[in-house]
Assembly symmetry: C2
Amino acid sequence: MRTALLGATGLVGRTMLALLETRAWVDEPPLLLSGARSAGTVMTFRGRAVTCTDAAASGIAGVEMALFSAGGAASRVYAPRFAQAGSWVIDNSSAWRMDPDVPLVVPEINAATLPRRPGIVANPNCSTIQVAAAVAPLQRAFGLKECHVVTLQSASGAGGRARQALAVELQACLPGLREGHASPDQTGTGAFPRRLALNVLPEIGAALPDGSFDEEAKVVRELRKILGLPQLAVTCTATRVPVWTGHAAAVRCVCGRAAPRDEAIAALRAAPGLVVADAAHGYATPLEADGADPVYVGRVRGEQGRPDVVLLWVVADNVRKGAALNAVQIADLLAARPRSV
Amino acid sequence: MRTALLGATGLVGRTMLALLETRAWVDEPPLLLSGARSAGTVMTFRGRAVTCTDAAASGIAGVEMALFSAGGAASRVYAPRFAQAGSWVIDNSSAWRMDPDVPLVVPEINAATLPRRPGIVANPNCSTIQVAAAVAPLQRAFGLKECHVVTLQSASGAGGRARQALAVELQACLPGLREGHASPDQTGTGAFPRRLALNVLPEIGAALPDGSFDEEAKVVRELRKILGLPQLAVTCTATRVPVWTGHAAAVRCVCGRAAPRDEAIAALRAAPGLVVADAAHGYATPLEADGADPVYVGRVRGEQGRPDVVLLWVVADNVRKGAALNAVQIADLLAARPRSV
């Protein structure tokens, strides 16, 4: 199957390329596309050198499967072009996610919404994917009325360059730490809204009129769409924490009926893609999820006096399951279908 | 007023001593008490050297105001002894907090529960103080039915030695970061349940039978006691984050009636000890709260379709308002009373 990758040089793009190397349905090196600035960058695919081409100058004839991770502006331009040329487009930007004609897919949850004929498929927001994966089994088992989410998101969610800026900030803090203080006069690199080193920031994305930041609004609306619950009561407070890779989320689910812990554990364990800590106090951390494929669910607890509530601690590698892996899993499903031609 | 300080060499004890230096009601250097190991340590009070005495060997006659920050075991032994000798004991451990005969005090909220005659007064848990301070004005204005808390707590909450261990862990990570990875094979110092550097841990304190950790149970029960709402529905997920000093909490309050944002802001602004960000997206971070006295409340938001809900982002210096400052503020109130003798 002839594949293309737009945004191949970014953190998510590189991970997509590495994952495509492992896929039997990818015979030839993907067509690697980028902005003008990254054109000429030489990447490696199964040991062969592949050079990035400027997307604006490249032909796309014959491409059947395109993965995009180049931001919303590029997606708005190129996704319709690829789709009109007969290619699937799996888009990791937020540009198409809320388009009513575009499915927003987490394969373990709503693969059935994938269309029959090539077109645009949206890959959800990183935090949303892992929360949706953890909450969907509870929805199926008990119904779902409310979902309250607080995320703790790693620097990698802001991209490879921002993540490297965290290292620079931390390096600058160390002499102060040895003297016993957090170097409060160090202003940070500008890669995040404020200094992230030894700090937490309740701000991810643009400020919206309702008082939320864009990342929070994404979790609210995308969770509703993926779960097929347009009226679901959702709140989100999204925070950036000084972690390298891997997002965590504390989630409080109000179910449609009583959800005893053992039944909740059973429902979660039966769901594909999850690793569930049965032990009462079991949990994973972002450091352990870094580089791993599953969504880890732990700290499964009830709430005193509320048999319908389940509390969860959800962790996943935001670059893999939160972005590149989920997109490639969608591509796997589409590639396995009989060709429509 | 003759004062004593038990646990003077710890992170909180040192901060208590520095705060006592600024208090007019403290005439003479406090009697500094410690365990046998720290006895002999020389501290400074208003430029004068003061030597720590082994608490087990020290006389306590004449002490009128004792501040304790030496852990629960020491408090259980020494608090009754000091109280029986006629001294106030303001205890920062969890040993006496839930004793029905001991008031649990945040001065801005429930100073009225302070007893008339010398005895033990408990200083609440660090996270609880800042959440209670932010939530109490909403309770007064609108009533309070539910309080759901997710904390992001700094290394300093585990003490000065643990905080220094975070610096050691971070130092060990830096070479890996330069190579682009989070040094996943580094196991940490053992100061925290798992490695804290570039990680977050949803585990603070001992594991309890109900699936919570002790820090979470403290927030639940202490919040109920401070607010005088023994039936309040509270949940807490407490996390440790790689921050030097300053705790943050994302709080979702379900009020007793509609709580419009402007009224909530007005109620919060009228409360002593709070600094409230009026701007829709305003907030403080732990780094900014480090070394400061107020409890910072920001990100004041409503919830779509729920006029009775207020979301808050609450930040404070856990060593100051979360521990030493709150204790000294209690002492201020007691010292200002006419002597009962």
